[in-house]
Symmetry: C2
Subunit: 238 residues, 2 copies
């Protein structure tokens, strides 16, 4: 009976249900966010319009706003030690800064990653801020947390542009910007970021929260008391 019911409705919803808009791409996006879909290289081409609409049509912003709301709920419950060692970690790309304009030119991730074009984009210092994260950033700093910006961006080729871009937008007063030094080139984000967090913990910091758009920001060692996954259906960082 169950099978019958589902055969009937699957793909052909009964008339009293709202029709499923591109259910495949919605399933794919949720699978990305739930970390079922891993190590994917590009957005499935049939999901181009879906991802475009998701990114530009308001749902992406709403999803970010909800995660930030959950961060505020969490902040209300924590009791920082106020010893100067209360830390938060924020990722940069698709967390503090948006590469959406860049990815519009790359069919929202349907095109494969283009390291030269991406470096040029970063060096143009024109990433906008993600508004809700910018507000969070200042709320954290004003609440006495030390904010660490931890990013896999290459320090040598993108360090100055990243600093300039952040400062131009009003991201200053953070405790440290940690980028990928030459020693970590070619190393996955999980070991690179784990090492960086372990060093902070060894320095006596307590990592209360850790915010990123990639699961590789949030897995590994010393991930923090609470992790928050921001949405990103455009690319996957291993």
């Amino acid at each position: 009976m169950f099978i019958c019911m589902f055969s009937k409705t699957n793909g052909k919803p009964s008339s009293w249900f709202v029709p499923v808009e591109n259910g495949y791409c919605m399933s794919w996006r949720v699978a990305v966010e739930a970390y079922n879909e891993r190590a994917w290289r590009t957005v499935p081409v049939q999901c181009l319009r879906y991802v475009e609409n998701y990114m530009l049509g308001g749902q992406y912003d709403q999803d970010i706003n909800m995660v930030v709301e959950q961060i505020y709920n969490y902040l209300r419950d924590v009791a920082p030690a106020a010893d100067g060692k209360d830390a938060w970690i924020l990722d940069i790309d698709e967390t503090c800064l948006s590469n959406l304009f860049y990815y519009q030119g790359k069919r929202f991730g349907v095109d494969p990653f283009d390291p030269v074009a991406f470096r040029n984009w970063v060096q143009s210092r024109s990433c906008p801020a993600i508004p809700a994260i910018y507000v969070l950033f200042w709320k954290l700093i004003n609440s006495g947390f030390k904010v660490f910006l931890l990013s896999g961006r290459d320090e040598e080729t993108m360090g100055q542009s990243t600093i300039d871009n952040l400062h131009n937008l009003g991201f200053f007063g953070y405790e440290r910007l940690i980028l990928r030094s030459p020693a970590y080139r070619g190393i996955g984000a999980v070991p690179f970021k784990s090492e960086a967090r372990k060093k902070l913990v060894a320095e006596g910091y307590k990592i209360w929260g850790n915010v990123g758009d990639q699961w590789s920001d949030l897995l590994g060692d010393c991930t923090g008391d609470r992790t928050f996954k921001l949405p990103n259906p455009m690319y996957y960082v291993p």
Copy 2:
């Protein structure tokens, strides 16, 4: 400029975008799946129709099918030892068996959990199978894996009904059914399931995969080489 663009589109999509259907509830559901929303007690009442439509309108089935597709992709890449110790762990509720009919009477999780009514439902032995997981179950067994069914259902009050319900549907040939014995009553799912998995590993089993609809199925110790999160917007098990 970025802020302007987003203020303009947020909530009021431009005319060339598909309008966002109940974006709040979609954000909420994705936050549940991505483990941003934790320890929630009931479905937000404003999301009743959204969750009903999600569960009955085809998207829930499609999401499950995509996760199972990802399991098959993973299975193609693994090389089991074929020593009789290759294990998979499957949860029961909303994994092997569906409680959707029960939750229809509980407004799809808008009503709070009702332990007496749920026990009566389980004892009625009328849970249907989740079709894609039933197929996966037999594929795993026929591929030589030992399947362990690991559930927080109370062994004393629900053990026999669970066995009967599973067998009536054709779930047999599994290696072991592990339910919550009296010693584990009142203990969270993460420590209970971690203990159970640790025992299996101590017995020499290699856990290749672990499938459940709750993050508490997939976190803790000995979680397995790969975990798979099935969707469930109706309830949260701590």
